[in-house]
């Protein structure tokens, strides 16, 4: 029996790699680096006569790329939950099945968001820097902001937003959220719905954003939004960098209007705006929301489950269009 043919455009965790080698006639990128460009991926799919392609959120699946893919490709499985890199309308027109990996990274990303929140409030970047220099200065004048008992505002109360709210309850925080609509009670779990974004921003001590990136949400955190936040507030972003107008955020951090920010994502990655690097009051991580062995394995397996289903003639589990 011949095995299905798969182009693996991004390096996979070891256990995922093993399953791929067991089940597929697979093409892997040669050499170091993050993997092929979208055009090179198309070339590999043609040459390899691929039935399926495995990509990640940093490989843009534009209308042109979708049109250029060979007809042999029945599914593109994307490793990650966000799908702002996919032109879903073009995929639908072309009849190309594209899937993502929801649910499996919820807890992990919420942990990272809470780490950023604590790290920003408690000035972890500055303190860790002092330790690495050998702790040769007193730190008693460098006080942070206490987290427990504060008001947390969540922008976008989907799965990850709700998992962050659950963590915040362990800190006796008051939880506000804003979203397109109010959640049912069992999902809201006592959090207070504030329909207006700016009104919610004004009431929160700490704001964490968990919205998907779409045309309507692009740069939603702009100068007006940061001005609406309280003096001394803290901002956290473990969702998508393009949700934020980074010039406005830099201005708010530099002026002292915001006390600090915790950022895992940037408008441009990995060549992020280096002005962030020069600020002491930011806690920075390189897009590691889902970076644990368990979660990255679960994400990889979820992509493969989707590919297996489609190549067996079944419906995909996590299609981006129906």
């Amino acid at each position: 029996m011949t095995r299905p043919r798969l182009v693996v455009a991004r390096r996979m965790p070891r256990d995922v790699d093993a399953r791929i080698r067991r089940d597929f006639e697979a093409w892997f990128p040669a050499g170091p680096g993050i993997g092929p460009s979208p055009l090179a991926m198309v070339g590999a799919a043609k040459e390899h006569k691929a039935d399926a392609v495995l990509i990640a959120t940093n490989l843009a699946l534009s209308a042109d790329i979708i049109a250029a893919l060979p007809k042999s490709v029945k599914i593109v499985g994307s490793f990650g939950v966000g799908f702002d890199h996919v032109d879903v309308a073009a995929a639908k027109r072309a009849g190309l099945i594209v899937t993502n990996t929801p649910e499996v990274l919820t807890e992990c990303t919420a942990d990272l968001a809470f780490l950023l929140l604590l790290g920003a409030c408690r000035r972890a970047a500055e303190y860790v820097g002092i330790m690495r220099e050998g702790w040769r200065r007193p730190v008693s004048d460098m006080l942070g902001v206490k987290v427990s008992g504060k008001t947390l505002g969540i922008v976008g109360m989907g799965r990850i937003g709700r998992a962050v709210a659950q963590r915040a309850r362990g800190f006796d925080m008051k939880i506000l959220y804003t979203d397109a609509a109010r959640l049912p009670d069992e999902l809201e779990q006592g959090a207070t719905f504030v329909p207006d974004l700016y009104e919610m921003l004004g009431q929160a001590d700490i704001v964490s954003i968990h919205a998907p990136l779409m045309a309507e949400t692009r740069k939603m955190m702009d100068a007006k939004a940061f001005a609406a936040m309280q003096e001394g507030a803290v901002f956290v972003n473990a969702a998508r960098g393009a949700l934020v107008d980074e010039d406005a955020l830099l201005a708010a951090l530099t002026s002292g209007h915001l006390f600090a920010a915790g950022l895992d994502v940037f408008a441009s990655e990995p060549d992020y705006d280096l002005r962030f690097r020069d600020l002491p009051n930011v806690f920075l991580t390189p897009h590691t929301g889902s970076a644990t062995v368990e979660t990255r394995n679960a994400m990889g397996f979820r992509v493969l489950d989707n590919i297996d289903a489609v190549l067996a003639g079944d419906d995909p589990i996590d299609p981006l269009w129906r």
């Binding site: 991004r10 390096r11 996979m12 965790p13 680096g33 993050i34 993997g35 990640a56 940093n58 490793f79 807890e107 942990d111 990272l112 809470f114 780490l115 604590l118 790290g119 409030c121 408690r122 000035r123 972890a124 970047a125 303190y127 860790v128 330790m131 690495r132 050998g134 702790w135 007193p138 730190v139 008693s140 004048d141 460098m142 006080l143 942070g144 902001v145 206490k146 987290v147 427990s148 659950q166 963590r167 915040a168 362990g170 800190f171 990655e269 990995p270 992020y272 280096l274 690097r277 806690f283 920075l284 991580t285 390189p286 897009h287 590691t288 970076a291 644990t292 062995v293 990255r296 990889g300």
Partner: protein, 320 residues
């Protein structure tokens, strides 16, 4: 009427400092530099009370040499190993500390260190700041998953219990070891281990919250580390002396311990240089209490102790 003289060994946060200056003739270490025993004795001459911090050693010799004017000692801390309580008792000088206010703030630091160590945030921060971020990859900077794991808490006092509550928000299962089993309402579902080996084997993340002293000196040694699950994450916000640094550094190198988050050190502010060479440690400079509200509250409690003692009453937060 002349105000009593208060010697404050270090700078305090603004609010308690203002209260101290309102109520006392304050002698203070304006430059906030480390203080020797000789400095303490010189400044204490003629002072009615001393407000000290854990950075100063008030050992038996220093206390015996204190001038007769000193009628109270308050430390700006929960711990009081730096004050020889027996010697103070012999002189009839009451000593007070600042309990409670620290619990939540210290538990916050413990949870921060747990997440930061597990998720390799120290390393991640350095990569990003150095401009060495080569691009996102599914295999980059993979850390240890924390949500849903078993957390072992060594010492289930106030801080340990606050951490347990926070950890439940991450869906963690809490195990603990303590001198005695807690009543159900305080344990809140946490699993007590009478047996140390079963406790160590259960701890996928281990956080230390036991008091210092000889009983826990180098408690976390090579033998106990070997009994923890491979890939464990270690957190210490309690006492640096509870850890055998050489053993922990060896285990961090071998991979037996995946990562460690430390806020306290044996011999601090000096720390074992072996830690500085490791990527899989997140180090903080003893800041369990470093947030504004908590530090203010500690300052007020220290002043409450002194106010009471100088008014001839018992201290509200005595240590002995």
């Amino acid at each position: 009427m002349t105000r009593p003289v208060l010697y404050i060994t270090r700078r305090l946060p603004a609010a308690p400092e203002a209260r101290a200056r309102r109520d006392y003739e304050v002698r203070q270490n304006e430059q906030d530099v480390p203080v020797t025993a000789a400095d303490i004795l010189r400044n204490a001459d003629g002072a009615d009370a001393i407000l000290c911090s854990p950075a100063e050693k008030l050992d038996a010799g220093t206390i015996a040499a204190l001038p007769g004017s000193v009628k109270a000692i308050a430390t700006f801390s929960v711990g009081f190993e730096h004050v020889d309580i027996a010697a103070a008792k012999k002189r009839g000088i009451p000593v007070g500390n600042t309990p409670d206010v620290l619990s939540v703030a210290t538990a916050e630091i413990a949870l921060l260190l747990m997440l930061a160590a597990a998720r390799r945030a120290g390393e991640a921060e350095r990569i990003v700041r150095a401009g060495q971020w080569a691009g996102w990859a599914p295999t980059q900077l993979i850390g240890t998953h924390v949500a849903g794991k078993r957390l072992g808490i060594f010492g289930m006092g106030r801080i340990g219990r606050e951490l347990a509550k926070m950890a439940r928000g991450l869906g963690m299962e809490v195990h603990y070891r303590n001198r005695s089993r807690l009543p159900d309402d305080l344990a809140a579902g946490a699993i007590y281990h009478e047996d140390e080996d079963s406790f160590l084997a259960a701890s996928e993340v281990l956080s230390l919250h036991a008091p210092g002293g000889e009983g826990t000196r180098k408690w976390l040694n090579a033998e106990r580390i070997a009994k923890l699950p491979k890939g464990v994450v270690i957190v210490n916000t309690a006492r640096g002396t509870s850890v055998d640094d050489e053993a922990l550094i060896a285990a961090l190198k071998s991979g037996q311990v995946a990562a460690a988050g430390l806020d306290v050190y044996d011999g601090e502010p000096k720390l074992n240089p072996g830690y500085l060479a490791l990527e899989n440690v997140v180090l903080l400079p003893h800041l369990g209490s470093a947030n504004m509200v908590t530090r203010d509250a500690m300052g007020f409690r220290a002043l409450d102790n002194i106010d009471a003692a100088l008014a001839g009453k018992s201290m509200p937060y005595p240590v002995a």
